[in-house]
């Protein structure tokens, strides 16, 4: 590859003046604190999607399943060193604490500092790699140049072969985005808000167009690269772990149907690997946005993730799960149970004969168990205890399946009956929500969840 000389030019062009003078230069510790704090609201932190062995000349490898290294006090996985390059920003997005009108301590890393932290943390097995995002310093292109410089050094000088996730800065020079793409494993451009109206209101410096342009560029880059790799197996890889994005949930009044339709569009039209949903927290106490005193909409976020899963792995479409008339998910039942209850005509499903896709639609049967069932039944007839060993959640599945024509218990295939029984199972309300006691109750105050008729035990409104 003859990128090196080329790269050097680019760095010197973009990175003309050395890093902006910070008056009282803070220590690495202070910087780390400020720039971690500023990065923590970004939810995309997985290290998955690429398998790469070490080549023996440097440090690092990557596992496609992703590796978490610890879990923070909020229970979220810590996999990558998630930091901003700088929290200086010339933009004023109202949901963001780095917004230029905020009076907060600011800091900027040097590329060298980022490299050393990454390598030293990685050697100690604290992290799986680096997640690098940034506030906008001077201009998007200038910022992207700084990011490029840091990861170029990490990949070439330090020969780091672990995972790198980089944010593409909307509006940055496409040449730079492409160069970064050949060094990073995953790239993401945050959609920020589900609709362009919301974006206009809350992030006046951004627009749908500046966000979607780099997204499209990365998508095209990945497609071209795939073709190239078919011809030359050794061609350099472009964003091999794919592209992701994130939407803030609950800052603006979109319903679940709108949000999921946007996500579906992103998967289909932009070939995204993942869409992340981030429950809104009003860090700036912005009076125009939901107040900080109200807890972040965690259950809603959870339901969106469950539905997202159904889109990606269970062959569901948004139209099957939601509609204009039923635009929000049921808070009491997960989206799959909810769907099944509204489509009892498909059930019960016979375990001995149903095909893989049909099994996937049964509540309590996950993708892994469905695969195991299909294989295991070739060896012998499966009964309920076998299903349990295979990993099926029987207390949920039992209403919807038969083994050799028998149900587990005599039950009625009746919506109200099954719904009531399922709700007795408290694990239906996700554990992390359930255990937050009072927070769970206050969720009912959320407008979008207010159940008409006010009967919390009805699992869905009949129209």
């Amino acid at each position: 590859m003859n990128y090196a000389a080329d790269n050097q030019n680019l760095i010197t062009n973009v990175y003309k003046n050395s890093a902006p003078a910070v008056s009282l230069s803070p220590t690495v510790m202070e910087k780390l604190k400020i720039l971690t704090d500023a990065a923590k609201y970004d939810v995309a932190c997985t290290s998955s999607g690429v398998d790469r062995g070490g080549d023996g000349t440097g440090i690092g490898n990557a596992k496609s399943c992703g590796i978490c290294h610890t879990f923070a006090a909020d229970g979220r996985c810590v996999s990558l060193l998630k930091i901003l390059f700088t929290n200086e920003c010339v933009f004023n997005c109202s949901y963001c604490q780095n917004n230029c009108t905020n009076d907060i301590p600011r800091a900027t890393f040097t590329p060298e500092e980022i490299c050393t932290l990454t390598i030293e943390f990685y050697r100690r097995n604290y992290i799986e790699g680096l997640f690098l995002s940034s506030g906008i310093i001077e201009s998007p292109t200038y910022t992207m140049g700084l990011i490029y410089q840091a990861i170029y050094k990490l990949r070439t000088f330090y020969r780091f072969q672990g995972y790198i996730h980089v944010k593409a800065i909307p509006g940055a020079d496409p040449v730079l985005i492409e160069k970064v793409g050949f060094l990073a494993d995953r790239m993401s451009v945050n959609l920020e808000l589900p609709t362009s109206d919301a974006l206009k209101k809350l992030a006046p410096c951004k627009s749908r167009r500046t966000i979607l342009t780099p997204m499209r560029q990365i998508q095209n880059g990945i497609t071209e690269n795939k073709n190239e790799l078919m011809l030359y197996r050794k061609a350099p890889k472009f964003v091999p772990a794919g592209q992701s994005t994130q939407m803030i949930i609950g800052a603006t009044p979109e319903n679940d149907f709108q949000i999921m339709s946007v996500a579906e569009g992103l998967y289909q039209k932009f070939g995204l690997k993942r869409v992340f949903y981030s429950a809104f927290i009003n860090v700036n106490q912005n009076p125009g946005l939901p107040a900080l005193s109200s807890p972040p909409p965690l259950l809603r976020e959870h339901r969106l993730y469950q539905a997202d899963w159904l889109l990606r792995y269970y062959h569901f479409t948004v139209d099957e799960l939601l509609s204009e008339d039923k635009p929000n998910f049921n808070i009491y039942l997960d989206p799959k149970c909810d769907w099944a209850l509204r489509h009892l005509e498909y059930f019960p499903v016979e375990i001995g004969t149903a095909d893989y896709k049909t099994l996937l639609r049964v509540p309590g049967i996950g993708a892994k168990s469905a695969k195991r069932i299909v294989k295991a039944r070739r060896g012998s007839t499966l009964d309920f205890p076998d299903l349990k060993k295979i990993g099926v959640v029987l207390k949920r599945a039992l209403y919807f399946i038969t083994c050799s024509g028998r149900m587990m218990y005599p039950t009625k295939l009746d919506e109200d009956y099954i719904c009531r029984s399922l709700l007795n199972d408290s694990s239906q309300i996700p554990r992390e929500i359930r255990e937050q006691g009072y927070r769970q109750l206050s969720l009912f105050d959320d407008v979008s969840f207010a159940a008409p008729g006010g009967n919390p035990l009805r699992c869905r409104e009949r129209s």
Binding site: V28, M29, L32, K33, T36, D37, A39, K40, Y41, G53, G54, G56, T57, G58, I59, G60, N61, I67, C68, H69, T70, F71, A72, A73, D74, G75, R76, C77, V78, L81, K82, L117, E120, F121, R123, R124, N125, Y126, G162, I281, P295, P296, L298, R372, K375, A376, R377, R378, G379, S380, T381, L382, D383, D386, K389, I390, R431, E432, E435, Q436
Partner: protein, 265 residues
């Protein structure tokens, strides 16, 4: 019924398989046992198996060649598992033996691993899952500390004998590092020299003095890591139950960031 009592190790179990097969007593009349203190049953004849590398290698070769390398890997992982689990309905060694007998009788033998309704297969599935899960936990949660001499050192306390899987992972990951992975439960260690393959050694008399002499920067990076760890959590989402669900408490002692939280409560 004849019971072949094997040592609780891969070589022990595979030697058991060899001896059992060789005995020509008929598969239906044979059981293997890896549990030396299991209850002795009347009317059973007990035969002690002495681990023999040659026999065990013969069995390995047969398995690899007739049933494929991934079948063999499953058997290895199964042997690595602790095996003392209430969920199990069968002895580890016996499950391995029965599965091999079944597999060798079928044209596409390796497929038996998919027949989860068979008791021996569901037992193998469970053991293999245990080994895989714990190896994965170790790879996630173990921490290295840099010693005075630049060597990376890590102490782990796994229930199953997962050290080889873990060492393999880090050999690929840190080819140029010298590292020492010490399994305190089984008193063995994996030693890796830069650019070489790793070796598993007996570590009964590991000098615990060296491993407490850290390099100068070690404390610095620990502090930086703890700062990062404390800062990355979102206050409004604090959820300690979810945290300890995701990283079970028994792994906290070997981490840098959670160790101190254990003693406080």
């Amino acid at each position: 019924m004849y019971v072949f009592q094997c040592e609780n190790s891969l070589d022990g179990i595979l030697t058991g398989v060899y001896d059992a097969w060789d005995s020509r007593l008929g598969h239906k009349n044979i059981q293997l046992s890896s549990d030396s203190c299991g209850e002795i049953l009347l009317f059973h004849e007990y035969i002690t198996v002495i681990p023999d590398l040659e026999k065990s290698q013969k069995v390995s070769r047969t398995l690899i060649c007739r049933l494929g390398i991934s079948f063999f890997e499953v058997i290895c992982k199964c042997a690595m598992a602790d095996g003392n689990c209430r969920k199990l309905t069968m002895d580890k060694a016996n499950a391995v033996y029965q599965a091999i007998v079944m597999a060798l009788a079928l044209p596409e033998g390796a497929k038996v691993l998919e027949y989860l309704a068979e008791p021996c297969i569901s037992c193998i599935f469970e053991l293999c899952r245990q080994t895989n899960n714990e190896a994965h936990y170790m790879i996630e949660f173990l921490r290295f500390a840099e010693l005075e001499n630049g060597v990376l050192f890590s102490m782990i306390h796994p229930k199953n004998n997962v050290l080889p899987i873990v060492a393999e992972h880090f050999t690929d990951r840190f080819p140029l590092e010298n590292f020492l992975l010490y399994d305190a439960t089984h008193q063995i260690a994996a030693v890796h020299k830069a650019s070489k393959h790793y070796m598993i050694v007996d570590a009964k008399d590991l000098n615990l003095d060296i491993i407490n002499r850290y390099s100068q920067e070690e404390q610095e990076y620990r502090k930086l890591w703890k700062t990062f760890f404390e800062t990355i959590a979102i206050e409004e989402r604090i959820n300690s139950k979810l945290q300890s669900h995701n990283i079970p408490k028994r792994y906290w002692r070997d981490t840098v960031e959670l160790k101190s939280k254990l003693t406080r409560h």
